[in-house]
Symmetry: C2
Amino acid sequence: MHFEVTHTDGNARRGVLSTPHGVVQTPAFMPVGTRGAVKAITHRDLADVGAEIILGNTYHLHLRPGDDLIARAGGLHAFIGWPHPMLTDSGGYQVFSLAAMRNVTEDRVEFRSHLDGALCALSPEKATDIQAQLGADIAMVLDECVAAEDGGATGEAGAPRASRAAMERSARWAARARTRFLQLRDDPKSAPEVIVTNPGQAQFGIVQGGTDMTLRTESVQRTREVAFEGYAIGGLSVGEPVSVMYDVVAHTAPLLSADQPRYLMGTGMPDDLIECVARGVDMFDCVLPTRNARNGQLLTREGVLVIKNARYAEDRDPPDAGCGCYTCAHFSRAYLRHLYVSQEMTAGTLMSLHNLYFYLDLMRRIRDAISFGSFEKLRSEFHQTFSRRQCST
Amino acid sequence: MHFEVTHTDGNARRGVLSTPHGVVQTPAFMPVGTRGAVKAITHRDLADVGAEIILGNTYHLHLRPGDDLIARAGGLHAFIGWPHPMLTDSGGYQVFSLAAMRNVTEDRVEFRSHLDGALCALSPEKATDIQAQLGADIAMVLDECVAAEDGGATGEAGAPRASRAAMERSARWAARARTRFLQLRDDPKSAPEVIVTNPGQAQFGIVQGGTDMTLRTESVQRTREVAFEGYAIGGLSVGEPVSVMYDVVAHTAPLLSADQPRYLMGTGMPDDLIECVARGVDMFDCVLPTRNARNGQLLTREGVLVIKNARYAEDRDPPDAGCGCYTCAHFSRAYLRHLYVSQEMTAGTLMSLHNLYFYLDLMRRIRDAISFGSFEKLRSEFHQTFSRRQCST
């Protein structure tokens, strides 16, 4: 993997990430393809809205259909028929948020599958092996996520201690994951049980530390000591106030390597993207555009349009008059409302298509603005029209 | 509307149907867009698989969002954003199969909405008015459908009597529907409560009579006396044996006008299409390709492929090796099985896309064969590979 920052504008960076499956322009937004498919969207529509890289979930794909099966099919790219870049998470987030039971020890985390209750386990090495079999272009290390209810990121009493323990364990796990990754890369014959489907795979470390700046600084140091191809900021967008999230990103991003990609995990709303680009982030992922679409919420330059509202029943305007997507070019709010109210599957498809286009078009405009030194102008204009409140029109 | 038979091969006919929204090549298959959307498929994918005309359901659209609302939006074409030809049924079939209650009198049929139990009524005039407001290129008359459980098409004892009454009432209703249609066309000001959204709309009559050839002959005579732009064969594919259906079509189609389109309603499996073209039918509609797709059944040239079968878990072949559709060009049976088992929405989309392409490609091949005088060769080759049994490969 190769990464080059081609333009900067303040702390915002434009760059090019070259992977074994093609090039990703950054800042980039990665649609989430949990089980090897971005929900409600075909790969064709996904490419057409401008997605250059998508994310797959190690937890889900490990449980079903299984990384062994996917490896025998030649890896995730071949199995799902997506020839462009991909990233897989480590499965840690789902284990800590979705699994029915979990038991964390220094060695590993045990959990029960949410599908059938089967007892499973994930260790730093196992998460690395699974991802080697999946063969995405970027793999993530297993980290210990502190659940929001444990005060992980909310700044409540007890949070710093919980975050320190999780941060320190994540750092130790990162070193183990890297050792295993390098073993699979440099001496795959020493692990014949693992089918390495993408020899050019890169591995990113994850910075933890909740909302404690001291812990974040220490986590950056310890993670960078391991030496990865890129670094993610984890443990945010888990319930903390947006301003706190922005502060943590502003503190953390500049501590990361200037010539390596910086990935903010699980964020966020459109204004989060522009604000975190302003703080030096290069990559994002979030289920928000697709999940909200299926729940009838369209993102527009004015904010959130809730399509089921009666006021749209005879509204012949497209969701967003200035938008160039397929949905806005062909369909009215009234028709989309009818499809949503009638529970037609195409409601989810057409609204996901719009929301993804909205996100990816925003990233395109951000990249262009950085090139031309007009990022602050774009940022200011964006905030003048965009509000997280429901649209009034 | 203009229809021209351009080629014949035995009883099979190739033709061109010109409508206010474009040309339809016949024999044609019409995907069903019940509520103004073909389930799981965007209009873009629909056009790409070769659909030239789609069907909308008067019953569903009348109940929600309402034909008044659709008329104010400019008609169904404008409301749903499909600029190509469309046909609407009369709503009769759904009233007789879906509504919670129904009470048929000579004047009209009363029923309760399956959505909210509201008391509704449909008369020959009302069904004509609703369709005038929807503005499809072809409207159908309201007919009285004899439910299969009443022996309507099964040839059981009592069936002839039930079918005669329904056939005679349908003939009287057809005349009333035509009178209203001509009033709306020639003197729309006399019915200011109806917004005629497509002045070029055509109206088809429907031949009934169950499986009784005498009744069918009489129904053809009485329906042709009314003089429509085209004629449908109704009351088949409701549970009768396939061979009986073929016999009724073989008896009925040649009695219909040679220079007007013949439409077999609600049929069927791929072999039904080819067999009924051989008996002189020009137009078909059926929910089978899309409904079966959502239930995990793919139509292939060998028959029905049930994607959830364990044998496909690691099958890297496309659903149908000879198929040119998007799904077969890009995805394996193993991936489609994974999507289906995981209940991903794209399973329904990708499999609907394949099944529709399979149907529409079959119609293309049928049309070409009729042009070249090789229809019997195609028919025989088709039956050599196609079976209604599950695929063995």
